[in-house]
């Protein structure tokens, strides 16, 4: 059978991960403390295991791969590039905005883009929904769960409106 290219990449990725882990294991400084088993043994073992499994996966891929045996793949629809690109855009938007606009604004931008990826055609309604949800989530996490998330632009405005302290 012809080798499966996609499966081959997966095998090579796992093999690469093993090599990377092996390299990092050699970088672990020698321990000043005496121990029967130092900090190196298990990292080396895990790296070797990953490399071995990667090699096996490469072997399977060269013999035809495993993807063709997957039931879910047999009737899978084609790759939805539009949705995937919008998802990537949503991630980029969140990473770019969260630092200077704060959680609610960044996550709202992400919400609108993800909803668009899954076929929503009403961005403004999504934006309104997103603002409600993200502010609700922010106040839930900060006030109820006591998680420390710095107030961004939107959160500050709301906190001031209610006359609360801005953390």
């Amino acid at each position: 059978m012809r080798p499966d290219r996609a499966d081959l990449w997966v095998g090579l990725f796992v093999l690469g991960l093993g090599v990377l882990a092996g390299w990092q294991a050699t970088e672990i400084p020698a321990s000043p403390l005496y121990a029967q088993v130092g900090p190196h043994a298990v990292p080396y073992a895990v790296a070797a295991l990953l490399a071995l499994l990667g090699t096996c996966l490469v072997g399977v891929a060269l013999l035809g791969g495993w993807s063709r045996t997957l039931e879910a793949e047999a009737n899978a629809p084609a790759t939805n590039w539009r949705a995937l690109l919008l998802m990537v855009a949503s991630i980029k938007a969140n990473l770019a905005l969260i630092g200077w606009l704060g959680f609610s604004a960044a996550a709202s931008a992400q919400f609108v883009l993800v909803a668009a990826a899954f076929g929503s055609r009403r961005p403004w309604r999504d934006a309104g929904l997103a603002l409600m949800l993200t502010l609700f989530a922010w106040f839930g996490f900060v006030q109820l769960l006591g998680v420390n998330i710095g107030a961004g632009l939107l959160e500050e405005v709301i906190l001031r409106l209610f006359g609360m302290d801005v953390p």
Binding site: A6, D7, V10, V14, L17, Q24, A25, I28, P29, S31, P32, L33, A35, Q36, V37, P39, V42, P43, V46, A47, L49, L50, L53, C56, L57, W66, L70, E73, P77, N80, A83, L84, M87, S90, I91, N94, L95, I98, F103, A107, Q110, F111, V112, V114, A115, A116, A117, F118, G119, S120, D126, L129, A130, T134, A137, F141, L145, G146, V147, I149
Partner: protein, 495 residues
């Protein structure tokens, strides 16, 4: 403490107003996330872990267990009304359940699933109450060498025995072990696998990995294969099962429960195998006049049995978690990390040192079961409505919660980069059929196994043969070897 004293103490605590409130909240949340496709109990508990800083341990664990049990109830609703199983344990339920729904019998299918879940949950919880202390007695005899071997067995069973392929399962596990190694070595203080990045010295957060795999990876995969036009939610109709339905259901409930619980208790974990076995058993044992319903109009036995097996197995998973500190499912692994964040070490000492906590937890499982059957039968219309949340906003919302759960850990954009990177890996894992649960289990259990390995070797003064000369340890390792190679040798022999 005897079982009865323990249960007495536990019910005394569990029936206080505050704890009943936590249980109700957990059951409600759990059913909701169980119903919603794309979110499961592991993800929900991971996102709620910060609660451990605010609420005392008892309340938090009652909440988590409510979510755990609730998701099992909710999952069946999705399988039956949408024909998309919410989690692996309800795949089988979807087979017959969705067929019944299509023939206008969604109501009885939902009812038999809910009552079956109640029967199985109660039998499973009884199992925990009476089996737990016995396992503890046995577990107290284990030294570090035996513990290490037990964890090796657990690694093999969760990754290589279940699922599509041992090779891919083990790869997932090794990935989890690698993630667990990142950070400062606890025994010698040396940084490991950090690539010199200071943020990684604290290790990779397990919440981050769980959220990345279960929320981000899943959503990315769904976008990859997204087709416009959602699935149709089938109408519920009349929920009341007829006398005939109940008469056909009660034996499958009991059989499913008795089949499922031992599977959960064994470190094999997983709910796929018992549900599948129960399905085949019911297909064989069904009365001849109903046999034709299997695979055509949907047979109620095929819902009742597997659904009971699913819940009993889920309850069984709590036995190794509470008594040995061994998580055999992703949800149990996340709960274990909640124990750790309270500074409590699950394991045989838990029943002695934290007796009130453990027994309150067990008592609240009985309470949760009663609450869930009440929440599920009359409120089934509400849950069916939750299913109609439109996909775009649902998945967008899941990503919002994933982001806040991760960003809240340390307010670091670096964490978000890691979240989306591991999420991308998760997407490819879905596509290439690598199971995700072994990643989380390996990540939590890996460091514990390493600690036991090093303790055992310190005791034996560096003699690796200790793992083979101590009978308990040798037996467990032999079992692991059989579990790993047995199915493959068997396949060769049969050929």
């Amino acid at each position: 403490m005897s079982v009865w004293d323990g249960l007495g103490l536990g019910f005394g605590n569990a029936l206080t107003l505050a704890n009943l409130g936590w249980a109700l909240l957990g059951c409600f949340l759990g059913t909701a996330v169980g119903v919603l496709p794309g979110i499961g109990p592991a993800l929900t508990i991971a996102l709620l872990l910060p609660i451990t800083f605010q609420v005392e341990a008892t309340g938090a664990f009652i909440l988590f267990c409510g979510i755990f049990y609730g998701a099992m109830y909710g999952g069946s609703t999705t399988s039956i009304l949408l024909n998309t199983p919410g989690e692996s344990g309800s795949i089988i339920t979807a087979l017959e359940g969705a067929k019944m729904a299509r023939n206008g019998r969604a109501g009885p299918a939902l009812a038999t699933a809910a009552i079956g879940s109640f029967v199985a949950g109660t039998i499973g919880t009884l199992g925990i109450s009476f089996l737990g202390p016995v396992v503890v007695e046995f577990a107290l005899l284990l030294g570090p060498a035996e513990y290490f071997s037990l964890m090796v067995l657990c690694f093999v069973t969760v990754s290589a025995v279940l699922g599509g392929s041992a090779l891919r399962g083990l790869t997932s596990l090794a990935f989890g072990l690698l993630l667990g190694l990142v950070g400062i070595d606890l025994q010698t203080g040396q940084p490991r696998m950090t690539f010199g990045i200071p943020e990684l010295l604290d290790g990779v957060n397990v919440v981050l990995v769980a959220v990345a795999l279960f929320a981000v990876g899943e959503t990315l995969f769904l976008a990859w294969r997204h087709v416009e036009g959602g699935a149709k939610v089938l109408p519920v109709g009349n929920i009341m099962p007829s006398r005939a339905d109940l008469k056909r259901s009660w034996k499958p409930w009991l059989r499913g429960s008795l089949l499922g619980f031992p599977f959960g208790v064994m470190p094999a974990g997983g709910t796929e195998m018992p549900t599948m076995l129960s399905y085949y058993a019911e297909r064989k044992l069904v009365a001849p006049e109903h046999a034709h319903e299997f695979g055509t109009t949907g047979a109620i036995e095929g819902v009742a049995g597997p659904e009971a097996a699913n819940n009993a197995a889920a309850a069984g998973i709590l036995v190794p978690m509470l008594t040995l500190g061994l998580p055999t499912s992703a949800t149990a692994a996340i709960m274990l990390s909640a124990f750790q964040s309270y500074g409590i070490n699950p394991g045989p000492m838990l029943f002695e040192q934290q007796a009130p906590l453990v027994w309150t937890l067990i008592a609240s499982l009985y309470v949760a079961n009663v609450m869930l059957v009440v929440l599920n039968l009359p409120l089934v219309g509400l849950w069916a409505r939750i299913l109609k949340v439109p996909q775009p906003q649902l998945y967008a919302g899941i990503l919002v919660f994933a982001t806040i759960g991760t960003y809240g850990i340390s307010n670091s954009v670096m964490d978000l980069v890691l979240l989306y990177s591991i999420g991308t890996v998760g997407m490819f894992m879905r596509r290439f059929d690598f199971p995700t649960a072994p990643v989380v289990i390996g990540m939590i259990l890996g460091p514990m196994a390493e600690q036991n390995l090093r303790q055992a070797l310190t005791i034996s003064q560096g003699d690796w043969m200790a793992f083979l000369t101590r009978p308990g340890s040798a037996m467990l390792l032999a079992l692991a070897l059989v579990a790993l190679l047995g199915p493959r040798v068997w396949a060769l022999v049969r050929r």
